[in-house]
Amino acid sequence: MTLGKMAWRNLWRRKRRTFITAFSIGFGVMLTVTFTGTGDYGYTKMINAGAIMGLGHVTIEPRGYNQTPALDKRLLKAEQIREQILTMPGVSDAIVRIMGQAMFASARKTVGGMFMAIDPAQDSAEQNLLLRSLVHGHLFSSAEGRGVVVGTKMAEKLNLRIGKKLVYTTTDIYGEIVSEIARVVGIFETGVDEVDGAMVLLPISSVRATLHYGVQDATLVAVIINDHRRAKSVRDQISAAVGNPQREVLTWKQTQTELAGIITMDKSGNYIMQLLIGLLIAAGLLNTLLMSVLERKREFGVMMAVGMSPATLFRLVLVESFWLALIGLIVGIIITTPWYAYLYYVGLDFSGAIGEGYNAGGVLVDPLFKIRLYKESIIAILAGVFSLTLLSGIYPAWRAGRIPPVESLKVI
């Protein structure tokens, strides 16, 4: 008779209690999966949405541009850098862009805003939220010409429609004020007022000419990667390949600090919530295991009287916790799977509560809450719940080993 077998049988002496305890562990698994899964899914969506708003997961830009963006800071040979980066593992795309501030004027009004100069041959709806959000017209067909795409809010403010003229004024590489005329070819609507009211898409070659940039120059190369969690390693890799004192390679956490801050804060809240759930479940487990030890005091006294050492008794109770943890995890997997599948495929629609245009850190938040777990999260949850159950068993196990046989037996 091994300790494992004995512990297993002990567990089933009170089936109802074992089932209730296993269900409480299982319920803990379900809650943790829900919290972690919505986090994994939501953060990924937000980070990817942030990335396709212009800067990518990793950005190569002139040194100092991130702190004080100005058009006199140029990334020389940006196209060449892009070609190099595209061959790197983990990189799904790299797009050369010029981003800067400008004044936009129509016959009616002038407003301040941002422009993003792009090459239609490089940019696509997949990598650019503004292109994905076109509601009228189309994107200019080449990197040259005078086409412009504006947001709905800016169109409203400036009374613009397809075919209307727009004048943009900015500063060139010499710090001189330069202006150019463009004609509206498309209108986008992302749902984020700050974007729809201030962002404008322009053809990159025309902007280069206006700003007196070289034919390969830009302000940044936005790098889209397959997995945002690898941003740091991809950054290091890119930095090693193309880095020099005039350039810097930054991750989304460095270029989108507001978004990174929101995610960090949300994650912390999530962890605290999970910790509280864990503590509540652990307290329940501790109570159950302790009760099961105390009600077997006499039996433990007999075991010690016939020669079981306190250490072996400690191990016996700990093995019972081990089995309980295992059963709890199995129950957890069984009850969580349908719930997970529902949230994975269908999700919970919170559009009624938060509306369609809710954004965090300037990034649109999808009101449809879905769930997705990273592999490492699954391992962390299973290991966490398992360890917590084992830890809950330590004190009862220690108590079992400390029971004086003469007191528990009363009479031998």
Partner: protein, 231 residues
């Protein structure tokens, strides 16, 4: 003196604290149990019988004096060392059988051997032999709740003797069984004593046990009142 006896109590006193009152359960008692003894402690309730067994079994420690088991002073041993002595050198038979409810008759009898680290094959041979000895070879797979009181006590005896201990301490072993079962249990223990030279020390009120004991030690107020050796 010490080297002739398996158990030697030397001027042993045990005082319990019951609330604010001190109760002297064993009072400066000296006693030796020799190898092969079939001895019984008798006396009224509160005379100290159980306490003496507890002290010999290392389940309790004396307030003063010494308890030597095979010349080893139990008071100076650690908890694990005492556990090892109980495992290797002592056998216990309890009044309420005290079998482990989740184990079968075989597993209960095997329990001590497994703690000793005896191999499975040797366990099998020894346990089956001892179960045959106590007449339970056909009930090896029964759990305690599937056996009568007498059968459970036989399993308890099997568990106590399977590791060939230096001494078996039996507390009221016949108290919870009917007369016929009590007689057969006593026959069994007597046979084990005579055939294998096993040493038995009982604590009892049962006159049948006292009649069969070859040495009868009567206690009163924690002291030996009479110590009679019979032929």
């Amino acid at each position: 003196m010490e080297h002739q006896s398996i158990v030697h109590l030397e001027d042993t006193t045990k005082i319990y604290q019951q609330g604010k009152v001190e109760v002297c359960a064993v009072d400066r008692l000296s006693l030796s149990i020799k190898k092969g003894d079939f001895a019984s402690l008798c006396g009224p309730s509160g005379s100290g019988k159980t306490t003496v067994l507890n002290l010999i079994g290392g389940l309790d420690i004396p307030t003063s004096g010494r308890v030597l088991l095979e010349n080893q002073d139990l008071a100076i041993l650690t908890r694990s060392q005492i556990s090892a002595i109980r495992r290797d050198r002592l056998g216990f038979v309890f009044q309420a059988y005290n079998l482990i409810p989740v184990l079968t008759a075989y597993e209960n009898a095997e329990f001590v051997l497994r703690l000793q680290g005896v191999s499975e094959r040797e366990c099998r041979d020894r346990v089956m032999a001892v179960l045959k000895e106590v007449g339970l070879e056909d009930l090896e797979n029964r759990r305690p709740d599937e056996m009568s009181g007498g059968q459970q006590q036989r399993v308890a005896i099997a568990r106590a003797i399977v590791s060939r201990p230096a001494i078996v301490l039996a507390d009221e072993p016949t108290a919870n069984v009917d007369s016929a079962t009590a007689e057969s249990l006593l026959d069994l223990m007597q046979r084990l004593n005579q055939d294998y030279g096993g040493t038995f020390l009982f604590s009892t009120h049962d006159h049948r046990v006292m009649e069969r004991a070859r040495r009868l030690i009567c206690l009163k107020d924690g002291r030996i009142e009479t110590d009679e050796v019979r032929r």
